[in-house]
Amino acid sequence: MTRRQVFLVIFMLFLFMGSSIGYVWSNFERTQIGYDLSQLKKEEMRLREINRKLRLDLAIQKSTKNLEAIATQKLGLRQPSPEQIIVLP
């Protein structure tokens, strides 16, 4: 075997090893991402549900009865009479 051939064989060996490791690594990574993805999906569903709950909460807080009570009792606001309404041009 010439020196050149030995070199080539070693190079091929490294190439083979490298690609095998690369393959295993990508497979491993894929699985890991799969796990992460399923976690995130769960998280997404959880957050969506929380969002709905908060929307319900907001709707209860914003109910006209509530707002009117706060406006009239706490802040002392009241409905304007017609002469108090001034239309600015």
Partner: protein, 653 residues
């Protein structure tokens, strides 16, 4: 090598060859069997090993009001179930469960001791409570997710929206009518599992069938709130049996509010009685009483049989028809058609009606939509009743002109008044504005639809002018007047038929007011019906104040500017200032108006400057925005010489 040996070798070669070919064929056959014939079964077994499916609780679409506020919303909650046969120590399990669920131990044990293989322990509880149960890890007890319907506005629009049952099925109102659209599909989540059972590679939720839809109503939750509140107080004040109220946009036919008393809370609907769930605005008929005179006037003017000034003799309050005598509340002599409507004379109405003719009036009533369904997108709508000409007795042919012997639903009456308000067009009423899918795209949209033209716009205008007087001091409903706006309407007080005697009752009435505002460009038609008020039963006294309250609030809410300025503004605002101490945010001593001298406007907001300027009868020129920083002429100038004040504003730093 001899021939025999050669043959032997060849034979052995063939033997080996056949052996291999047979082996190969067997393998191929088995492969064919496994890969093709039993593919489905085997695949399913394999998938069972690494694929898991999670059933998601069926969702339900949201119901919104016209501005996107939630009226009904589904939330995920936990439910606890058990397989009693699999629980070994029932007493211990019951003790643990009762502690977490805040239930009596005995009650839980009773459930666990049932013979059936599957029992619900507690349904629809808070998710963290459900998680605590799951953490107990009792064998045979499980937690599943369900959805629960919430109505954040409680009583708001409850009769219209309806409610759902324990299994998410619509039972009343919009929930029932549009159950097919609101109901979500049974969806499930498919995921791969590793050897440890942990999920990876989750797919999108798989849904069977169509997706759920959200529904947007024409209701305005603020107007609805006020309608319910005003109606409730009117019903309570009159100690009445029930009441209904409708608010309609006459230009489009959209229902802005639909209120019914007695009310109920759909979150706990089972605690109310079924008669409280009924949407009386479409399911209950009543005799409309004098409100019919508005339509009599419209028909007579359209047919040109009378003018508003034609005079009729009102017989001093007593008029005999066959064996019956018709009375008026007040004695009247000769009156114009206009006054007959304004003072609501029954005898006058009969005389106008006779000139018009019974069958012509019936034809108009049909055109106004009486006697047939309006076609609203709600369940349980009734027809109402208009007696055909050939079935009407002499007395029927007289009483119909003041609205007895004819029945109508609240909805028909408000839609018919809408015809007069919008210039003669009968609009189809509707409550569902649009249907939206999960990604927010509009799937269906309801557009305003004109059913037919009933009156010319000139006639509608003339009728409106007459109905305006009803709300004046000399009419029957001064209590319906809304300051700042011109209002038109008609009162009605009708006797109810006693179901026992089948005759008109002496003490059971329906008090009605139906009207619209503002007169020139009507935005709202409001109907208030109070059923069986005690004491004074007149529509102008019982129902009109609720009309005023709802109208005033709604016009403010819709930002409709007042049309009428008060005549003596100067006095009024001066008094207002005296009554309300000015906020001492800005401590200017000379803020108070010194007689004869121009006040200091500096430091005031635009609103106060205008208010103050007007109260002094000055013309105020405004420059810029924010707080006043400069004025021309300066403060303290003698007011007699000043006509115009120029005030500059700058936003506060």
């Amino acid at each position: 090598m001899n021939v025999g040996k050669k043959k032997w070798i060849r034979f052995r070669i063939y033997l080996v060859g056949i052996f291999f070919v047979a082996g190969l064929l067997t393998i191929l056959a088995r492969a064919y069997q496994l890969q093709i014939l039993e593919q489905d079964r085997l695949k399913a077994i394999a998938r069972g090993g690494y694929v898991g499916t999670i059933k998601l609780p069926p969702k339900r679409g949201t119901i919104y009001d016209r501005e996107g506020h939630e009226l009904a919303l589904s939330i995920e909650v936990g439910s606890i179930y058990a397989h009693p046969k699999r629980i070994k120590k029932k007493g211990k399990a019951a003790r643990k469960l009762s502690r977490v669920l805040n239930e009596r131990q005995g009650d839980v044990l009773k459930i666990l001791n049932k013979k059936s293989p599957f029992v619900w322990i507690k349904r629809k509880i808070a998710p963290d409570q459900a998680r605590k149960v799951a953490e107990l890890g009792i064998d045979g007890v499980g937690v599943t997710n369900e959805t629960r319907r919430y109505y954040p506005g409680k009583e708001i629009a409850a009769h219209l929206v309806g409610f759902t049952g324990a299994d998410n099925q619509g039972l009343e109102g919009i929930e029932k009518k549009y159950d097919g659209l609101l109901k979500g599909p049974h969806s499930s989540l498919v995921q791969m599992r590793d050897a440890m059972g942990r999920p990876f590679a989750v797919s999108r939720p798989m849904a069977s069938g169509h997706g759920m839809k959200d529904i947007i109503l024409t209701i305005d939750k603020d107007i609805q709130y006020k309608a319910q509140e005003a109606l409730r107080s009117a019903v309570n004040k009159a100690r009445a049996r029930a009441g209904h109220c409708l608010v309609l946009d006459p230009a489009t036919g959209e229902i802005l509010a639909m209120a019914v008393v007695p009310e109920f809370n759909p979150n706990i609907f089972s605690k109310h009685k079924p008669y409280q769930w009924r949407n009386r605005t479409v399911t209950d008929c009543f005799e409309p009483g004098s409100t019919m005179k508005a339509f009599l006037l419209a028909a007579s003017l359209e047919e040109n049989v009378v003018t508003p000034n034609t005079n009729f003799d009102c017989e001093n309050g007593k008029y005999r028809i066959g064996n019956h005598v018709v009375h008026d509340t007040h004695k009247h002599g000769a009156m114009s058609v206009s006054d007959i409507v304004v003072h609501s004379s029954n005898i006058g109405a009969i005389k106008v009606g006779r000139k018009l003719g019974y069958s012509t009036f019936c034809k108009y009533l049909k055109n106004f939509g009486f006697g047939s369904k309006t076609g609203i997108d709600l369940l349980g709508e009734r027809n109402g009743f208009v007696r055909a000409a050939d079935k009407a007795r002499t007395i029927d042919k007289a009483t119909i002109f003041f609205g007895q012997g004819i029945t109508t639903t609240s909805l028909q009456l408000v839609v018919a008044m809408g015809v007069i308000a919008n210039g003669g067009k009968l609009m189809r009423p509707y409550v569902v504005k649009s249907v939206v899918d999960e990604s927010g795209r509009t799937v269906e949209q309801t557009y305003p639809k004109m059913v037919r033209r009933v009156l010319s716009s000139e006639t509608a205008e003339k009728v409106t002018r007459v109905l305006e007087h009803v709300v004046s001091d000399k009419g029957t409903a001064p209590k319906a007047a809304i300051s700042g706006f011109k209002v038109a309407g008609k009162t009605g007080t009708s006797q109810k038929v006693d179901p026992n005697t089948k005759r008109y009752s002496r003490d059971k009435y329906v008090a009605i007011f139906v009207g619209f505002v503002p007169v020139d460009q009507p935005r709202l038609v409001i109907l208030v019906v109070v059923d069986e008020p005690k004491g004074i039963a007149y529509g102008g006294i019982v129902s009109a104040p609720a009309f005023r309250e709802i109208g005033q609030w709604s016009l403010n809410h819709l930002r409709v500017n007042p049309q009428i300025r008060l005549v003596d503004k100067r006095v009024d605002v001066q008094e207002e200032i005296k009554k309300e101490p000015q906020p001492d945010l800005v401590k200017h001593n000379d803020l108070r108006i010194k007689v004869g001298l121009l006040p200091d406007f500096r430091g005031l907001g635009m609103r106060e400057v205008i208010k103050k300027g007007r109260s002094l009868g000055l013309k105020v020129l405004l420059v810029g925005t924010g707080l006043a920083v400069e004025q021309e002429p300066g403060p303290g100038s003698p007011i007699q010489e000043v006509h115009t004040v120029r005030v500059s504003f700058r936003p506060p730093a």
